[in-house]
Amino acid sequence: MATLDAARKSALRQELEAIVGRGGVLADPDELLVYESDGLTLFRALADFVVFPTAAEHVAAIVKLASREGLPFVARGAGTGLSGGCLPAEGGIVISLMRMNRVLEVDYDNQIAVVEPGLVNLHLSWAVGPRGYYYAPDPSSQQACTIGGNIANNSGGPHTLKYGVTTNHVLGLEVVMPDGEIVWLGGRTRDTQGYDLAGVFVGSEGTFGIATKVVVRILKKPQAVKTVLAVFDAVAQASTAVSEIIARGLVPAAVEMIDQLTIQAVEDAFGCGYPRDAAAALLVELDGLRVGIETQAEQIAHACRDAGAREVRMARDESERALLWKGRKSAFGAYGRVSPAYMVMDGVIPRTKLPYVLDRVNAIVAAHGLRVGNVFHAGDGNLHPNILYDPRNPGEEARVVEAGAEIMKLCAEVGGSISGEHGIGLEKADFMPFIFSAADLAMMQRLKSAFNPTGLCNPGKVFPTKKSCVEVGPVAYRAHPIEEKGLAQRF
């Protein structure tokens, strides 16, 4: 980790302020603490500076400065990531894109929008909604997460079952390369020539450069939406229903599964209308033409009943539909009702392995003396086991990490992957060998070298590495320095 003495830090601060203005640089330890982790609070690392550029030229100047000084730098959006991907693992500069949050242009004729990376995902759909359009990738954190962060992680969401993940919706990017050059990868047209640079940039977890403008596709809102809730007395029945839906040639927009523990937490928190005694529920959404949607909904209902659903009902109106989705999308928050902390896993398995893997996941977690809640994208086999724990109990956190690693191994064993949408970041870097050979990883390293030869751009991520300056430990309450000084109070 780069260590800066006070004189050098002060000089650098002045240089950074000359680029972005005095209000655009954080350097005091109290302020930097806010940026020490992302949504995965298990990992923490402190930056030397957090900088808030408002233009691509600022980003380029900051990157050039960092390169000159040999300081690592990492881009950060809203910090909702769940793998530690935007942590300053080796110190240096955090470049926050949160002040670059504009919709620059919407071209409805060509169904594209040009946006800045700090734009909140949902705000794009709000911006184009009045004209009947929306942005399809819908991570559960879409009220807070940014398009830039989505690009880094190639984020998904419930409706990506039908509409694809972020990479399927990004046409081009203006990128500040790790050497400070501003380059366009892809563009506004659907096709580009040469290697698919935009395609490899998306999902590169901030290690290939920093996107400063993004061209995304926007879609016409479907004419009709139909949401089906199927209730089961056994998790295995719900898993079977997923297979039945696929086997019947149906293509729902989303198929989400929610287990009992999660249903109860959600009902305690929000009262969304899920039956508390159900072992599992499937939330299935169809969209598209008004014609035929009733027929398809009936087919879904049949598939669920044939799999043993005790109840199948349709959302009667938009408000009931919104409530069901609120339950699904707020599930992570609702775990706060039943546990002081949880760790979300993000494995992917072939859909046909769902019943076996869910059983095994529950057994693994139980064997470590812990509880798990499952709420996940069943339609594409993207699991989210949430392991509940109390960080104040000595040793419990270590058991969570062990159980997590076993679940990742299980996903790999059945031919799956260790991440469907959250990214590798710091969290899963050491799990990469579960699914990739040394040769596979070496090829990824060579690709990285073509973009980021010095390695200063977001070091310590994706690849299994020597330990970096990251603190891993209990996330129990610690007083913030401003509390200690009596400047703020915790309620």
Binding site: Q111, V348, M444
Partner: protein, 439 residues
């Protein structure tokens, strides 16, 4: 220059898998005859052949069905290298209907894969031309597509994994077998459209879709291309969800009965297809469209070549213009005006919803019209750029290619591509010199 070690190659793949002499004639590209053509029968064979070629410094030209072999910058390399044919690697490795995924070896033809998937009610939603010859690996490498990309996207949207032999003979697994996967970099994207310059694709894993209950292709004829283009835009802004949206100018539509024509595909439940055809009629009538006419299913594969075969003889050049979708019609008109101004005839078709225009240029005479052909292609490239896009010279005789760059200027991105090539193929052995930015 040392001779290509035929004996060593025969030892790897067996004597029948190594061609020489007149057997090489199908593999002659732009007058270059390869030193040999080698047909490995397994992943390990591929690895061993590449390892040998790398050790001897022999260039490798990966070869699937050969349908895109002529695409690329003409070159006069020091040695013509060996063709590495994947035709023997043609098995479907795995198809798990419940997972909606399949893995096929690279030499599997698209048609045979589709036929196998169809028996289980599924398909790969990619419909490149010449499906009976085009191979799964070749289609990925050339990023080939067809009309249904309007709804279902291109290879990059469908591929989830690949086995690749890199330039030094290392076996690399890119991606995986599951439909959603962000572990590590998205390597499969790198190989889609790479024209064999980064590695040899040995097998490919793809996402599948259930076959729709019904599919229908319909045509609407217009008096003016302008109106047909307006109709295409109206369809895009409407509630219908076509799986294809093709715009053909009067020349390209000759085989369909002539007149600028909008061809639209619909799939889904029967009632959905019916409703959409009715809706289409309501959309096109005010814009001067004639009645919606159903076409036979056999019309689908003909759409890809509509422009190229329009005049019944070989075109002087084929150019692919990638432009903003809403400007496809205007670009087609401008291309025709430019050709006419030079005394030439052209035929254009477009996947209108994605802005992929194919323009075929025709001339009666060879040599004396060369200057006019070259000038027109230059005009077309300017037209594409004027619409925020670019143009690729898909096919032309060597005389034309020697004067018109095949690829458009890749700008600063081209330098990143060169760095990637240098990282993955430092000896520059894989299909050297044929690709973008001199790669």
């Amino acid at each position: 220059m040392p001779a290509v070690p035929l004996d060593k190659l025969r030892a790897i793949v067996g004597p029948a898998g190594v061609l020489s002499g007149v057997e090489l004639s199908p593999y002659v590209v732009e007058g270059r005859t390869p030193e040999t053509a080698v047909f490995p029968g397994s992943l390990d064979d591929v690895r061993a052949v590449v390892e040998l070629a790398a050790a001897e410094g022999i260039p490798i030209i990966p070869w699937g069905g050969g349908t895109a072999a002529a695409v690329g910058t003409p070159i006069a390399p020091a040695r013509s290298g060996l063709v590495l044919g994947l035709a023997r690697l043609n098995r479907i490795v795995e198809h798990e209907p419940g997972d909606l995924t399949a893995t096929a070896e690279a030499g599997t033809t698209v048609a045979s894969l589709q036929a196998a998937l169809k028996t289980r009610g599924q398909w790969l939603s990619l419909d490149p031309p010449d499906a009976d010859r085009a191979t799964v690996g070749g289609v990925m490498a050339a990023n080939a597509w067809g009309p249904r990309r309007h709804l279902y996207g291109t290879a990059r949207d469908l591929v989830i994994g690949m086995t690749v032999v890199t330039a030094d003979g290392t076996v690399v697994r890119a991606g995986g077998k599951v439909v959603k996967n962000v572990a590590g970099y998205d390597l499969p994207k790198l190989f889609v459209g790479s024209y064999g310059t980064l590695g040899i694709l040995v097998d490919v894993t793809v996402k599948l879709r259930p076959l729709p209950a019904e599919e229908r292709l319909v045509a609407v004829r217009f008096e003016r291309l302008k109106d047909a283009a307006a109709a295409a835009r109206a369809v895009m802004a409407s509630d219908v969800i076509p799986n294809a949206l093709e715009l053909l100018d009067a020349e390209a539509a000759r085989a369909l009965g002539g007149g600028p024509t909008l061809v639209v595909g619909f799939d889904g439940l029967g009632e959905q297809v019916d409703w959409q055809c009715g809706e289409l009629q309501a959309l096109v009538s005010p814009l001067g469209g004639a009645g919606v006419q159903a076409m036979g299913a056999d019309a689908w594969p003909r759409l890809a070549h509509a422009a190229a075969v329009a005049l019944g003889h070989q075109p002087a050049a084929l150019m692919r213009l990638s432009v903003l979708p809403a400007q496809a019609g205007e670009v087609m008109e401008q291309a025709a005006v430019a050709a006419r101004a030079r005394g030439l005839v052209c035929a254009c078709s477009a996947h209108a919803g994605v802005g992929a225009v194919v323009a075929a240029l025709f001339s009666d005479q060879g040599q004396q019209e060369l200057t006019r052909v070259v000038a027109t292609l230059g005009d077309w490239r300017s037209i594409a750029r004027g619409s925020g896009g670019h143009a690729v010279l898909e096919w032309a005789p060597l005389a034309v290619k020697s004067q018109v760059p095949v690829w458009d200027d890749a700008g600063a991105a081209g330098r990143i591509m060169q760095r990637i090539k240098a990282q993955l193929d430092p000896q520059n052995l894989l299909n050297p010199g044929r690709f973008v930015a001199g790669i």
